[in-house]
Structure formats: structure tokens, C-alpha cells
């Protein structure tokens, strides 16, 4: 498939992130047991799966946290093998992540970190984006200190928006967020993923070459609430460290909503049998 994008023609199937037969151990226990997954530029993928299935492990391995040991397979980003790359190298290459439970860092303000993380970031932009996310009051506080779950989500989203990565990883963006703030988080996710401009207001659909600004996403969601705010291209179900099902994200979510993961268990069983 060929898509018109910006000024030139590019292949839509340009692989941005590619995981090949990824095996990952955490504290000596194998959590991911051969995961293969590709995310093309500009696409958003959702990860579903029961607790403990390996979703967070997958995201934290993509960003390169040291607890997550790759014991087999590889991770490529923008065509380069980054399996051995350091976290900061990956971040600078364009991988950004919003954590579910980020740590508190005493004595380091959000303002200081945001400024150090992106060269040339102006205070105007920082303050404007913070105000848009109702997070201005957290700028000069220690990062994540004393924040509620929803407040943390807003500051995490703010950092992603400022960082402007090509691949946006979101770990349960809706958890701990009340209904009132969900719209705010949804809008932040759209901005982070390039679906809406930070300035806001105008109808972005009218803008030409809109898709050229699309950033790719890998989003963990339990409830699917975030999918009311962003259009997800593809979904994957993780079970016990393996992707057992991939397809239309809305359909998968519908299945899970009505039957839970029991159908997926059955599917997984079938697949295994078929493989043998």
C-alpha cells in the first residue's frame, strides 16, 4: 500500500519498531516467551491482556530498563538493532514512554527535567503545554512527589508531549484517572501522538498533510477507555508472555468486553495445537 504523505511518497509499511522472537526475563523468571511485533510509522497499536501477561514488561523492554533482560530475539527501531542500546540512546532516537507508576525523584523538578530532556525547549512552550494539561502547579515541585494517580498521568503526558518522540509508549493511560479528567488525558494522548495540535481549538481534520504529523503508539489498556479518544489501528492480546491474537483493535476489545479473556485462552490453546 502506498500512502500520500507530506511532500513525497513513502511506503506506509515503513517499520518503525520491530520485535523479533523476543524473550525477556525479569529477576530470573522468563516473562516474554518469543514475542514478535511490528509497529509502522504513524500507526497506533494497543496491547491487551490479563494482569501479569507481560504487557508492562514489553514496554519496559522496548525502552530498555535494566531489570528486563533480553535473553533471546531482537528489537529494532528505525531499522537499527537497539537490543543493546542504553535507555537514553533509545530516548534520543525517538522512543518516549509514559509510565504507570513513575518514581519520585527528590530535589529534581519537572521543569528542570523537561529542560534537560529537550534542548532548546522554551519556557513559554513548557508553561503553555503544562497549563493545557492543568499541570502548571507541578512544574516547580519535585517530580511525582505527592501526586495522585491522575496527576501523575498528566505530568507523564506532559513530558511525552514535550519530548516529541516518534514512538509513544503509554502504559495504562487511563488508570487512576477519574471520568472528568479522562477527556484531558485523551486529548493529551492525541497531542502526544500527533493527532491534534497543542494549540488546540481548530479542527485538525481540515489540515493538509495531517498524517505526516502522526506519531506511532504502543498503548497498554485494560479498559479500552483511551480508545474513545484515539483511533487505534491494531490490537494484540498478550497471554502468558506470548501474543496469542492480533487484529482489529475495536473488535478485539469488543470480544474481551463480552467474554473476558476466556476466548483468548481457548484460541491460544488451539494455536498451540495447530503449531504442533
Amino acid at each position: 500500500m502506498i500512502l500520500f504523505r507530506g511532500k513525497g511518497l513513502i511506503m506506509a509499511e515503513e517499520k518503525l519498531l520491530e520485535l523479533k522472537d523476543l524473550h525477556v526475563s525479569v529477576d530470573g523468571r522468563e516473562v516474554l516467551k518469543g514475542v514478535s511485533l511490528s509497529v509502522n510509522a504513524g500507526e497506533i497499536h494497543a496491547l491487551f491482556g490479563p494482569n501479569g501477561s507481560g504487557k508492562t514488561t514489553l514496554l519496559n523492554t522496548v525502552i530498555g530498563f535494566s531489570r528486563y533482560k533480553v535473553t533471546g530475539g531482537s528489537i529494532s527501531f528505525k531499522g537499527q538493532d537497539i537490543t543493546e542500546a542504553t535507555i537514553d540512546e533509545r530516548a534520543r532516537m525517538g522512543i518516549g514512554i509514559s509510565f504507570q507508576r513513575p518514581p519520585t525523584v527528590k530535589g529534581v523538578t519537572l521543569r528542570a527535567l523537561a529542560s534537560l530532556g529537550r534542548e532548546g525547549l522554551s519556557m513559554e512552550e513548557l508553561e503553555r503545554d503544562a497549563a493545557n494539561l492543568d499541570a502548571a502547579e507541578f512544574l516547580d515541585r519535585d517530580i511525582n512527589a505527592g501526586l495522585s494517580g491522575g496527576e501523575m498521568k498528566r505530568t507523564e503526558m506532559l513530558q511525552i508531549i514535550l519530548q516529541q518522540p516518534d514512538l509513544v509508549c503509554l502504559d495504562e493511560p487511563e488508570s487512576g484517572v477519574d471520568l472528568e479528567n479522562m477527556a484531558l488525558i485523551g486529548r493529551a494522548a492525541r497531542i502526544a501522538l500527533g493527532r491534534e495540535e497543542a494549540g488546540g481549538g481548530q479542527c485538525t481534520r481540515l489540515k493538509k498533510s495531517l498524517r505526516s504529523g502522526y506519531r506511532a503508539g504502543l498503548v497498554i489498556t485494560h479498559t479500552g477507555q483511551i480508545m474513545d479518544h484515539i483511533y487505534v489501528d491494531r490490537g494484540h492480546v498478550l497471554m502468558n508472555g506470548e501474543i496469542v491474537c492480533s487484529g482489529n483493535a475495536q473488535e478485539l476489545l469488543g470480544e474481551i468486553r463480552s467474554h473476558g479473556y476466556t476466548e483468548c485462552f481457548r484460541c491460544a490453546g488451539c494455536d498451540r495445537r495447530n503449531l504442533k
Binding site: F65, R92, I97, P102, V105, G107, G117, R118, Q163
Partner: protein, 390 residues
């Protein structure tokens, strides 16, 4: 291993130093000396209520600029005010140890600072103890009096000159905080690596008075030991100690703060942050609650960045009345890996992330610190914790 104990080596230090003449203006100091003073927080460009510079055994500069505050060399003050003898060696024993004995044996130096009753002294008084001659034993005796209802802010910088490698500094300080007064005392040390340093401080706080101590020592010191003691005698009196230490290889810093909470409803907080990049740190604290309604908290946190370093946190709580609340927390460890990686995920290198964490760890919100000094301390922390410097 035989540890070096300066007590056994006092004879190694000379008691004689060349005489230093008084100067009219701080600009008359050599550039290198002025730079050193600046590092210890003494800046002639900054507005100050008064400035005092003591070099080796002589007061070289003493200038009081604001009404409501009196600043003089101690010898002159004792000569001028007969009543001052009631404050001299009154809350500190001359024979407490060899160092107080050393100071008692001689009478050359030190400052006298007094804020008058009700005076709110907007700008800090800068006081500097400077060691210019190598291998000298310098001893000073200071008296500070914050009269009833007054507010006084002192920045005391202690530093050694560019030619000094070793030396001994003994500083005896007796401080009096009268009813409803506030005394904020900030001490910044910037010594030569081979220095032995023995501050000896006692503070008495009357009813409703407040004593705030900030101590910053980020440069190596071979042998630093101090245990300033505050007596909260009047009801409702309060004391706060903030201590920030960084010990490089070869440094030994044994510091603590002790507060006797004797008046009803007195409060105290002792907070220390220590970083060892190879040196030894004893972070002590001792709270003694002796009256009803006492509230006190002690916090010692340490970061150990090298296996060659040692951090020993010794928090002590002593309750002598059943109606009081005292607590402590102490934590010693390495830099948190999760925090480091979190910062790296935002694009910071590992070294940069760690230096930011250490800087944040040391950046206590120090109350009553003038912006210029705060900026200066931040700069020292920045340099000391910069990637590669640790």
C-alpha cells in the same frame, strides 16, 4: 588501622602567623583570596548589614553598615562593653576539650555580633574566618546575641587561602537568642584538603525564640568534627538544623547536631544529607526531650557513591517526659536505579541523571538563605556533582 586524630598532633601546628594589617576595602584583597571568600559565601557585591574578615590571628576588615546591628572584633567588644563578660565563656566550658582550652589560652580573634531589641536586620551579616598561613593553628571565639524580638541573619564563611595545604581551625561560638528573636546562622566551609576543623558551638534560646542553622561543607576536609548544641530553654522555642555534606576520598567528617528541648512546647528539626564519594561521614543527631508538649524530628539521609566510603548515621532520641513526640528516620544507600533509569528515559545520559539525583538530594530547601548564597551553594553542588566529578 591507626586513624589520624588531630588531638594528638596539635604540636604540629604553628601558633605564629605574620601580622595582617587592616584593609579599608575588600577590593584591597588579592584576587585569589577574594575568590576564596566568594566561595565561602562572602561577596562584597551583595548587600550586607555588615562584613567581618578575620585572617590568621588578625581582624583585617570590620564594617557595620546598618542600624540595629552591632559588629566588632571580640577583643574590642569585651573592652567596650563591661557586661559582655556575662556572655563570654558562659555557656561553653573552657576545659571542654583540648580545642576549647587552646582557644581559651589565647585572646586574639573572633567576632561579636548583636542585633538590638526589636531590630529586623534585613540583610545578612557576613563573617569570614580565613586561614592564610600554612600549617597554622587558628582559634577564634565568637559571641552572637539576638536581643528580644530581633531578627538576625549571619553568613559565616570559613576558607583557607591558595597557599594553605594543612592547618587547624578552632572556632568557639556562644550564641544567645532572646525572647521572641530569630537567629539564622549559615556556615559554609571551603577548606584545604589537609585541614583539621573543630567548631565548638553552644546556643541558648529563650521563650518563643528561633534558631536556624544551615551548614554546608562540600569540599574535602581531612578531619572535621563538630557537635553544636542548642538549649531550648524558654517555652515555645524552636531550632532547625540543615546540614549538607559531601566527603571525597581522604575526608573524615564527623558532624552532628544536638538539641535539648527544655521549655514546654519546644520544637526541633534536624535534617542532614550526606554524600560520600570515598570519604567517611558520621551523621549524628541527638534530641533530648525534657518537657511537656515537645515535638522533634530527626532525619539523616546518606548516599554512598563509592565502596571506599563509609557513612554511619547515628540518630539518637532521648525522652525524659511522657508527654512528647519525637521521631527519626535514617536512610543510607546508593543512587536509586529506578530513578536513574526514569531520568534516562527522558534522554539524559546515566552520568547526567546520577549527577542530577545527587544534586537534588543535596539541595535542601534552606530557610532564610539569601538568593546570592543559595545560587552559590547550588553552583558548588553543581560543580561537585557534575558528571565525572564524583
Amino acid at each position: 588501622m591507626n586513624e589520624y586524630r588531630v588531638e594528638e598532633h596539635i604540636g604540629d601546628f604553628s601558633s605564629e602567623a605574620p601580622h595582617h594589617d587592616e584593609i579599608k576595602d575588600l577590593s584591597a584583597l588579592a584576587d585569589a583570596d577574594r575568590e576564596k571568600l566568594l566561595r565561602a559565601g562572602i561577596d562584597k557585591e551583595q548587600p550586607a548589614a555588615g562584613t567581618f574578615v578575620h585572617s590568621d590571628h588578625n581582624t583585617v576588615y570590620c564594617n557595620s553598615r546598618l542600624k540595629g546591628v552591632e559588629l566588632a572584633p571580640i577583643s574590642y567588644a569585651l573592652f567596650k562593653h563591661d557586661w559582655l563578660k556575662d556572655y563570654y565563656w558562659k555557656i561553653m566550658d573552657r576545659d571542654k576539650d583540648v580545642f576549647t582550652e587552646l582557644a581559651a589560652g589565647r585572646k586574639e580573634g573572633g567576632y561579636y555580633i548583636r542585633s538590638e531589641k526589636g531590630a529586623k536586620v534585613n540583610y545578612p551579616v557576613q563573617a569570614c574566618m580565613y586561614l592564610e598561613t600554612n600549617a597554622l593553628a587558628q582559634d577564634v571565639h565568637n559571641i552572637v546575641i539576638a536581643e528580644e524580638g530581633s531578627e538576625l541573619n549571619i553568613i559565616s564563611g570559613c576558607a583557607s587561602g591558595p597557599n594553605v595545604r594543612s592547618g587547624l581551625h578552632v572556632g568557639v561560638s556562644e550564641m544567645y537568642v532572646k525572647k521572641g528573636a530569630t537567629l539564622s546562622f549559615t556556615m559554609v566551609h571551603d577548606w584545604a584538603e589537609e585541614m583539621a576543623v573543630r567548631p565548638r558551638t553552644t546556643v541558648v534560646v529563650e521563650e518563643g525564640g528561633r534558631y536556624i542553622s544551615n551548614y554546608v561543607c562540600l569540599k574535602p576536609a581531612k578531619d572535621l568534627q563538630m557537635y553544636p548544641t542548642v538549649y531550648l530553654n524558654g517555652p515555645g522555642a524552636a531550632a532547625t538544623f540543615n546540614t549538607v555534606l559531601m566527603a571525597g576520598p581522604g575526608s573524615r567528617m564527623d558532624t552532628g547536631s544536638r538539641v535539648y528541648l527544655r521549655g514546654e512546647g519546644t520544637r526541633a528539626e534536624i535534617v542532614s544529607r550526606s554524600v560520600s564519594t570515598g570519604g567517611t561521614i558520621y551523621a549524628r543527631g541527638h534530641l533530648i526531650g525534657e518537657a511537656s508538649g515537645v515535638k522533634a524530628h530527626l532525619e539523616c539521609n546518606g548516599l554512598l557513591l563509592s565502596d571506599k566510603g563509609v557513612i554511619l548515621a547515628v540518630p539518637e532520641l532521648e525522652a525524659r517526659h511522657r508527654n512528647l513526640e519525637m521521631s527519626h528516620e535514617a536512610a543510607v544507600g546508593k543512587i536509586n536505579q529506578e530513578e536513574t533509569e526514569y531520568l534516562m528515559a527522558r534522554g539524559l545520559s546515566e552520568a547526567k541523571a546520577q549527577s542530577l539525583i545527587v544534586k537534588g538530594f543535596l539541595s535542601l530547601d534552606i530557610i532564610g538563605l539569601p538568593d546570592a548564597l543559595k545560587g552559590d551553594i547550588d553552583k558548588i553542588i553543581e560543580e561537585s556533582t557534575a558528571a565525572g566529578a564524583m
